[in-house]
């Protein structure tokens, strides 16, 4: 009963007899009601972004906050001249692509699984469990899971008579573990998105394709995938966003190590600002992360245009 009326409620001019709903005050009443939400978001989420951008263009010292010289893009130039930053950026890119590819593969595979699994209600509920666990708990569980003594991975390797691998002692392996743990935690949500897309695909189209002699794989490529484009785009945006901003999980799983092999951008930004007290540099990294998020989202929306009209 609830959904059918949704479209009508907002934006239409009500006929005269309906106007007594508006007694509350045409403009100021609703604005006053929205104000607490707008204010708290404005002060604590929007303003810091602006403040961060401003600091990235100035030389700000933690110890003398009043001495702030405008330096233009010097902070950005310094970052890109710094091998540590370039290394972090490069490894972040590898990580993000890893999360996207593995995460998308998982989303499609498990999305289809949940769609076709008979009596899948329990599995569907189970799928989302990792998403509700705090990043620190996920990190601890995974750290233990891949321990060279006592971990599940070593249990398996020793069962096959091999020596256990120290996953977190090698830079590239550690990056792989961080990737898998991020996918484990974040992909369940995109599985859910893909599943919700699959449930809206018109069954007639499969039948038509089948009549035309398309096999299961062809039906998937030519019918399923084009029909769930919006969900694929949303999933990609979701995975990218989570990967770029992965912080707690990495900090608790590897601490950025070994060496700096998993010190990805968010961790790098935190260390630069809160430990090295380079506020301006850290703010510049923050802006770079925001720009990267935005650029990736725009690319996806361009690659997977959604025909659906925007809902408000």
């Amino acid at each position: 009963m609830t959904t059918q009326v949704a479209e009508k409620s907002v934006g239409e001019r009500p006929p005269a007899r309906k106007r007594n709903l508006r007694k509350f005050g045409q403009t100021w009443g609703p604005i006053a009601a929205a104000l607490p939400a707008v204010l708290i978001v404005g002060v604590f989420l929007a303003y810091p972004i602006g403040y961060g951008f401003w600091m990235s263009l100035h030389e700000v010292s933690m110890f003398n906050l009043s001495a702030q010289d405008f330096v233009g893009f010097t902070n950005y130039q310094e970052l890109f001249a710094d091998p540590a930053f370039r290394n972090s950026l490069w490894r972040t890119m590898i990580f993000v692509f890893g999360v996207i590819i593995i995460g998308m593969a998982q989303s499609l595979a498990f999305g289809l699984t949940l769609h076709y699994l008979p009596n899948g209600r329990f599995v569907r509920a189970l799928n989302l469990v990792p998403y509700f666990i705090s990043s620190v708990a996920v990190a601890m569980v995974w750290r233990f899971f891949v321990q060279s003594d006592g971990g599940f991975t070593s249990f398996i390797t020793e069962a096959f008579g091999q020596t256990a691998i120290s996953w977190l002692a090698d830079g590239n392996l550690a990056l792989f573990v961080v990737t898998m743990a991020t996918v484990w935690m974040m992909a369940p949500f995109s599985v859910l998105l893909i599943l919700s897309g699959l449930q809206t695909v018109n069954a007639d189209m499969y039948e038509a394709a089948q009549v035309d002699g398309a096999n299961a794989f062809q039906r998937f490529i030519h019918v399923t995938l084009p029909s769930i484009r919006p969900q694929i785009a949303t999933s990609l945006i979701w995975l990218t966003f989570q990967a770029f901003n992965s912080f707690g999980l990495i900090l608790a799983l590897t601490g950025g190590g070994p060496g700096d092999s998993t010190e990805l951008l968010a961790v790098y930004m935190y260390a630069l600002g809160m430990e090295n007290l380079d506020i301006s540099g850290s703010s510049a990294v923050m802006i770079i992360i925001l720009v990267l998020n935005a650029v990736f989202s725009l690319i996806y929306l361009k690659l997977f245009p959604t025909d659906e009209p925007e809902k408000s």
Binding site: G29, A34, L45, T113, L117, G150, L192, G248, A252, N293
Partner: protein
């Protein structure tokens, strides 16, 4: 053949999802030294880890901190959001669109990114290391999604019901209380739980803005635990990690349906 395929895929999903958690759960029933022995099942079933956990220095204090900041911030966030959502859903007021975007866009910004500017803001007013900072930040983080979701739910209530009671002379507050709130309960459940989960699990803000050990929340303490233990006590850490998941899992399994539908609706928009 096809039928077995789908079952295999289902089993793969279950194993992939459950295995890391199951491994941690099994560790909590093992002895600290047995963890290193590469047994799957514990040889000697022990609940030592849970006993250690509950006697851990300050454990209940951290649990209280988590529960306190999470509950308070969730209540405030939901209250602010429902009022705002009602205005956005029911009134075509001036700047409605701009304000709506203004509430939504910051949701696209990662919270970690805000730490440094926020730290400077709060240290200027001397609020570092207080519950206030954490609560305010959790409220601010929860409001965008909660408002957005509730707008959908309130918008779906037929206007006519409210009008009928307005004609009968019911005031706005009365209509809100007797009509809008009861009909929005599924939405309220969703946003309350989603906000609760986010605050309960939050880590970067707690790490950055809480300094005194007394103030730590559970995820923060879990993070600090291994460095203070010397030799890593995996059964204890696993028990701690599982303990932090429990309240959320109970809530999730109880309200799974409404959470899932609320979340997917929010994401696609």
């Amino acid at each position: 053949m096809k039928k077995y395929g789908i079952w295999l895929a289902g089993i793969a999903l279950i194993v992939w999802t459950v295995m890391p958690l199951l491994w941690a759960l099994l560790a909590t029933s093992k002895d600290t030294s047995e963890v290193y022995a590469n047994n799957f099942w514990p040889e000697q079933f022990s609940l030592q880890a849970w006993g250690d956990l509950f006697q851990l220095d300050g454990f209940w204090r951290f649990a209280f901190n988590s529960l306190y900041v999470t509950t308070v911030s969730t209540v405030i966030a939901v209250a602010i959001s429902i009022v705002a959502a009602y205005a956005f859903a029911r009134y075509a007021f001036k700047w409605r669109h701009i304000l709506l975007l203004f509430i939504l866009v910051p949701r696209l910004v990662p919270r970690v990114a805000l730490i440094v500017p926020l730290y400077l803001m709060f240290s200027k007013v001397g609020l570092i290391d207080t519950y206030t900072v954490i609560i305010v930040l959790y409220v601010a983080s929860a409001v965008p999604l909660a408002t957005w979701t509730l707008i959908g739910f309130i918008g779906a209530i037929p206007r006519e019901i409210e009008e009928a009671s307005a004609i009968d002379g019911a005031s706005l507050l009365r209509r809100l209380w007797t009509i809008v709130l009861p009909l929005t309960i599924p939405g309220l459940v969703t946003v309350t739980i989603v906000s609760f989960v986010e605050s309960w699990n939050e880590f970067p803000f707690a790490l950055a803005f809480l300094q005194d050990t007394e103030m730590r929340t559970l995820p923060y303490q879990l993070f600090s635990l291994e460095s203070s233990l010397g030799l890593i006590d995996w059964p204890l850490i696993s028990a701690f990690a599982i303990f932090t998941m429990l309240p959320i899992l109970v809530l999730y399994l109880r309200f799974e349906k409404s959470i899932v539908s609320g979340m997917t609706a929010g994401a696609v928009k």
